[in-house]
């Protein structure tokens, strides 16, 4: 025997750093949007269709198709599948799809509002655990605030009942908030409650910078845009617990490498993940629905899509002068949410600078001492030197 002896078995907890001696499998994670339908009608949501939308339901892939795709994903080495929506639990075949993924040896990340969790499902998660904490979106700490967001009477009680069922069965879960006009005053309460029910001191994440509709069905966009907070408010909220977040922003800028240049997909440099919409169309991420970046899996295999199509998407470059002048030269890449998916949702292009996210990133940079008020980040000739100078000054 040539091996190093004990310990023979190594535990690999969530996070998986250092799991692979190689670069990792071609597909490490697959995001599946099982449905765009949802039993809530949240004011800020960039996806949801009504739960009873018969046309959407008729177009959705059946369980057999998802099971076939999961099998292909397993052959590509996929270890993690995220099941999301819409609300994935509106699908009557959710349990069948979930169990298939687990029997293939995948961990399952479930994004849910918990309102449709039943005793049977909670027991299933107890007996066949997803191996990832269930991620539950929370839209308020009281029926009045919660249902002002979900616009679904009775949804608060259903959410609390669902969460209680998970808790009764010892199913690990985390909660996630959303900073909206009705919930903004409840952030402290949400954090204290989260610590109490999850037993973890980790503060729940809260969505703040809402995306517009990724299908570009724009009737709801003015409502979503009206719910967005500005950069100064974002900074104020981030500073609620001290300067750690601001210090982290400087670190992001220091570690994020040089400006984008003409690259579009800076967040996907290493590949390894893919997303599929409810109708079997593969894309890099669930928000990126530009026709040039989507391929129909009915026309080819998952392997072809992951190893052929996605690398071609990743290699796409911008020729938009505004993008090249601004985003291409900006040293705030690590802070800004600019990406092809956001550009697509806002403007229907892959490479238009998104003014909203640009404004937020500039507010963050001013708070972090990286920019003076009124200064434009793309006008800073040497961003790396700027970050180092600020960090030196802070160190001294």
């Amino acid at each position: 025997m040539t091996g190093p002896g004990k310990p023979y078995v190594r535990k690999v907890p969530s996070g998986r750093d250092g799991m692979w001696a190689s670069a990792g499998p071609p597909l490490a994670r697959l995001d599946i949007e099982l449905t765009e339908r949802c039993n809530n009608d949240c004011v800020h949501c960039s996806v949801n269709l009504p739960a009873g939308d018969a046309a959407a339901r008729a177009r959705e892939w059946p369980a057999a198709s998802w099971k076939g795709l999961l099998g292909e994903a397993a052959e590509l080495g996929c270890l993690v599948v995220r099941l999301t929506g819409g609300e994935p639990l509106v699908r009557e075949d959710f349990e069948e799809i979930y169990l298939h993924a687990r029997r293939l040896g995948m961990r399952v990340m479930l994004f849910t509002n918990a309102t449709l969790v039943t005793e049977r499902l909670a027991r299933l998660f107890r007996d066949v655990p997803p191996l990832e904490a269930v991620e539950v979106s929370v839209y308020g700490m009281a029926a009045e605030t919660y249902e002002a967001v979900t616009r679904a009477p009775g949804s608060f009680a259903a959410f609390r009942r669902g969460l209680g069922l998970l808790g009764d069965q010892g199913v690990p879960f985390v909660v996630k908030g959303a900073v909206l006009p009705s919930t903004r005053r409840e952030m402290d309460e949400l954090e204290a409650w989260s610590a109490r029910i999850t037993g973890s001191p980790a503060r729940p994440s809260s969505a703040m910078l809402f995306d517009l509709r990724s299908r570009r069905d724009g009737a709801k966009n003015p409502l979503i845009a009206g719910l967005r907070i500005g950069g100064d408010e974002f900074v104020r909220i981030a500073r609620r617990h001290g300067e750690a977040a601001v210090d982290e922003w400087r670190d992001f800028c220091a570690r994020s490498g040089g400006p984008r240049g003409d690259r579009l997909f800076t967040c996907l440099a290493s590949g390894g993940s893919a997303s599929v919409d409810p109708y079997g169309r593969l894309q890099y991420c669930l928000g990126l629905r530009h026709p040039d970046t989507v391929t129909d899996l009915a026309a080819g295999s998952l392997r072809e899509a992951v190893t052929g199509f996605l690398p071609r998407v990743r290699a796409m470059r911008s020729t938009n002068p505004a993008y090249l002048e601004r985003c291409g030269r900006c040293f705030l890449k690590g802070l800004c949410e600019q990406c092809p998916a956001k550009s697509w949702a806002e403007y229907g292009t892959l490479d238009t600078p998104v003014e909203y996210f640009c404004g937020v990133a500039h507010a963050q940079a001013i708070a972090a001492g990286l920019l003076e008020p009124g200064e434009k980040a793309w006008a800073v000739v040497d961003g790396k030197e700027r970050v180092e100078r600020v960090e030196r000054r802070r160190g001294s």
Binding site: V9, K11, P13, A21, R107, L131, P172
Partner: protein, 101 residues
């Protein structure tokens, strides 16, 4: 009290786990609760573990596995036996293998 590994018995993978080979690694994924200490753990095997695992097929007694490995690696049975029993005891304690008789 945990069961002890017996070289005369046959062991095979448990139905409580899913065993996958990905990028040359053997990855053991719990299917049911209670396999790991935490509910989010996967398990991999070291090089010795991988060599042994590939022969744990639920068909032959463990002593035959030891003899086969000793021949392949040109090593004394006692050294091989220590590794085989060490790994299988760990796997049995974790319910990743079962005694098939």
């Amino acid at each position: 009290m945990s069961m002890k590994i017996d070289l005369g018995r046959v062991y095979g993978p448990s139905e409580d786990v899913v065993v996958r080979e990905i990028e040359g690694e053997i990855v053991i994924v719990p299917l049911v609760s209670g396999i790991g200490d935490l509910e989010d753990e996967l398990f991999t095997l070291n090089e010795t573990g991988r060599a042994i695992w590939s022969r744990i097929d639920g068909r032959r007694p463990l002593a035959a596995v030891v003899r086969e490995l000793a021949g392949e690696y040109n090593a004394p049975d006692g050294i091989i036996q220590e590794d085989v029993v060490g790994l299988l005891q760990e796997l049995l304690d974790r319910r990743m293998i079962v005694d098939r008789g």
